[in-house]
């Protein structure tokens, strides 16, 4: 059965590491739902969060194939129960004098921020889990979504565990 899984990787900041990882997904036919990269507390290392969809056999293969890459130091699965996984989304919604306040009210309910206002539109910044964001989309959809951008999932394990250990 196919399911979404969130992987967290610690990698060496070497030349071409990102292309090696994305290339691995491409050539083995695995689908990436989202991928985020950023620096870490150690300047020589980067942290990558990848969300993938696949059945158990494929997910196991993905983890093993990622572990085979020399630049990859650790691969863990961020399990929803003991991790924090969030995504940042900017949504530009149609808004005029009659609808603006309603949209702001919805945004407030979702603890989203209005970050830009114009006569015809609002840009809303929302952070949260996939479910929260889906819910928000559903609520503002009737007003007209002009465009949006999603950062992709990023996450950490809960508690004292650290990936580099």
């Amino acid at each position: 059965m196919e399911k979404k899984t969130c992987l967290s990787l610690l990698v060496e900041n070497n030349f071409g590491v990102l292309s090696r990882i994305s290339g691995l997904f491409a050539r083995r036919g695995y689908n990436i739902d989202s991928l985020t990269v950023g620096t870490t507390e150690n300047a020589e290392l980067s942290r990558i969060t990848i969300t993938v969809t696949g059945d158990d056999q494929i997910l196991t293969q993905i983890k093993k194939q990622l572990n085979k890459l020399i630049d990859v130091i650790t691969v863990i699965e961020l399990k929803p129960d003991d991790s924090i996984i969030r995504e940042l989304v900017f949504i530009k919604v149609k808004a005029d004098d009659t609808t603006r306040s309603q949209i702001v009210e919805i945004a407030n309910m979702f603890r989203a921020n209005i970050v830009d206002v114009s006569r015809e539109s609002l840009v809303i910044e929302i952070t949260g889990t996939r479910y929260k964001i889906e819910g928000f989309f559903e609520m503002v959809e009737p007003y007209g979504i002009l465009e949006f951008v999603r950062s992709g999932d990023t996450g950490l394990q809960r508690g004292g565990r650290i990936l580099s250990h």
Binding site: F15, R27, Q61, Q65, D71
Partner: protein, 548 residues
């Protein structure tokens, strides 16, 4: 410390890795390195096309058990290496490929002879480096050889811009201990898994050992023999596993797969436990294994965790080196005689005999199956045979017996035509100090893919003997066309110009023979073996001889 030119440092680092030969082809981006070669003890062997250079390195690596090294300039030189690097990757052969690159400032500008070779080879290198700083050279070369030769071996590429080669560096050879955070191959099998495997082996009524290339690469032949004999378990090999187990042993049960022996596939289908050691169960090996019993158990021993469970569901995975894990398995008490199973196998063997006969008109010319059978009787016990790709490969793999210290190399994973000549030359360079019989087996198709390398054979008077099987056809594809579309549905598989191979060999000063009867081959073979230096025997096989 006196500064050293990076190009010289590169060769010093290769010396430290005990590199004797570098198989390469020069070019603009490698001028500094070639200038350094003039005063280096490392011998540069000029190949005749970069495409063959990784195959030389591969043959050298397989024969010597060391890392083979090939070299090519930037751009077209580097891209010419691609197929050979992929060939080594699919067969897990330890090679290091070094490429020249344009100056650092020119990278990304589509400069003359610029190609993104680390990008192009990423899918089939174990790892690669683009050297951006000459001071990193000692570390990178040490790491490259370490990565290529440990764990599951494979090709590593080092791309070195021309201006990096011209830098002066003060680091010297200080770097020697490899410590790569993300690379710690696991050699020892998990003791709990080994216990579970032993339990399964004890319970099994019809166990089979399926030995792959990992046994050969891991030098675990002695341990495999001891383990199989102690427990009376029959051994089947993959194409890459040829040489893992002596073919004259009573427990030997042939080669599995779509091009394997029929009886081997039947035996494997009947097993209740398959102990897979270092084989990846590729589609070509398993396509004829359709009738696995539902309760067939798989123990899979592999040094690469990603191989386990990739192509076949595994009951008991053991990640580790074949030699180490087998040594541990031998220690355990699992003795059983398996007499009933061995008797059943004997019946299977009798019911599915090897067929050597051919009918006219095929029988009027050379029978290649008989040729390799006869050759098995007439060649030394340490002979190396390098099979190309095609019918010649299957005939030589199935009918030339690998016993004692004999070896058989072929491009099993990628199936690269043109492999045999350069790979055999690489093996010949690895044995220059103690020459042995090395045979190249190729067809008229594969021969023409690498025939430029006759120049190297002649130049170095390599002791290689070419068994050139000619039928003016691309035999294996033609066989597939026959099987898939029927008689007469041949397309693009005729080599219509009948080359005078004798004259061609003569042009290179290579002693040559042409035979069209097995009896004549058997007369010529002892002469060829006696002859010091290269020879070629053209063996005429009927185009319709397409059975394996």
């Amino acid at each position: 410390m006196i500064p050293l030119l990076a190009s010289k440092l590169i060769l010093k680092c290769l010396e430290r890795e005990n590199v004797e030969f570098v198989f390469g082809y020069p070019g603009g981006a490698l001028l500094p390195l070639y200038e350094a070669f003039r005063t280096s003890p490392i011998k540069h062997i000029l190949v005749r096309n970069e495409q063959t250079a990784p195959h030389y390195a591969s043959g050298y690596a397989r024969e010597s058990g060391r890392v083979g090294v090939c070299l090519a300039t930037s751009g077209p030189g580097a891209t010419n290496l691609v197929t050979g690097i992929a060939t080594a990757y699919l067969d897990s052969i330890p090679i290091v490929a070094i490429t020249g690159q344009v100056d650092r400032a020119l990278i990304g500008t589509d400069a003359f002879q610029e190609a993104d070779i680390t990008g192009a080879t990423a899918p089939f290198t174990k790892h690669s480096y683009l050297v951006q700083n000459a001071a990193d050279i000692p570390r990178i070369i040490r790491e490259a050889f370490h990565i290529a030769s440990t764990g599951r071996p494979g090709p590593v590429l080092i791309d070195i811009p021309r201006d990096v080669q011209l830098e002066n560096v003060k680091t010297g050879l200080t770097y020697d201990k490899v410590d790569i955070m993300g690379y710690k191959p696991n050699l020892n099998g998990h003791s709990g898994q080994i216990k579970r495997a032993i339990k399964k082996i004890k319970e099994a009524e019809k166990p089979v050992i399926y030995a792959g290339g990992g046994v050969v690469l891991g030098n675990a032949q002695t341990e495999l023999l001891a383990f199989a004999e102690k427990n009376n378990i029959p051994v089947i090999t993959s194409l890459m596993g040829i040489g893992a187990f002596p073919e004259d042993h009573p427990l030997y049960c042939g080669i599995v797969g779509s091009h394997g022996y029929k009886y081997s596939n039947v035996v494997m289908n009947g097993a209740d436990l398959i102990i897979n050691i270092g084989a990846r169960m590729s589609n070509r090996a398993t396509s004829h294994l359709t009738k696995f019993e539902k309760d067939t158990d798989f123990v899979h021993i592999d040094i690469d965790p990603a191989e386990i469970g990739k192509n076949m569901e595994t009951s008991i995975p053991i990640v580790g080196d074949a030699k180490t894990v087998l040594s541990e398995l031998i220690q355990k008490d699992t003795i059983k005689d398996h007499a009933a199973w061995l008797a059943e196998i004997e019946t299977i063997r009798i019911n599915n005999p090897l067929v050597y006969d051919a009918d006219p008109p095929c029988s009027d010319l050379i029978n290649p199956k008989v040729l390799f059978k006869d050759m098995s009787e007439m060649t030394a016990n340490n002979t190396t045979v390098v099979g190309d790709v095609g019918l010649n490969q299957i005939w030589s793999a199935l009918y030339y017996r690998i016993i004692k210290d004999r070896r058989y190399y072929t491009s099993g994973g990628l199936g690269t035509m043109g492999y045999s000549i350069p790979a055999a030359c690489g093996a010949a360079f690895a044995t220059l100090d103690k020459p042995k019989e090395i045979f190249i087996v190729c067809g008229d198709g594969s021969f023409q893919m690498s025939m430029g390398e006759l120049g190297v054979i002649a130049e170095h008077q390599l002791n290689v003997n070419i068994i050139l099987i000619t039928n003016t056809k691309l035999g294996m594809v033609r066989q597939l066309q026959f099987d898939n579309y029927g008689k007469g549905h041949y397309s693009g598989t005729d080599i219509n110009f009948d080359i005078d191979f004798m004259k061609l060999a003569e042009a290179y000063g290579i002693k040559s023979y042409k035979v069209d009867k097995n009896a004549d081959f058997n007369k010529v073979l002892p002469e060829v073996i006696k002859h010091q230096g290269p020879t070629l025997i053209q063996c005429q096989v009927h185009p319709d001889f397409i059975r394996i």
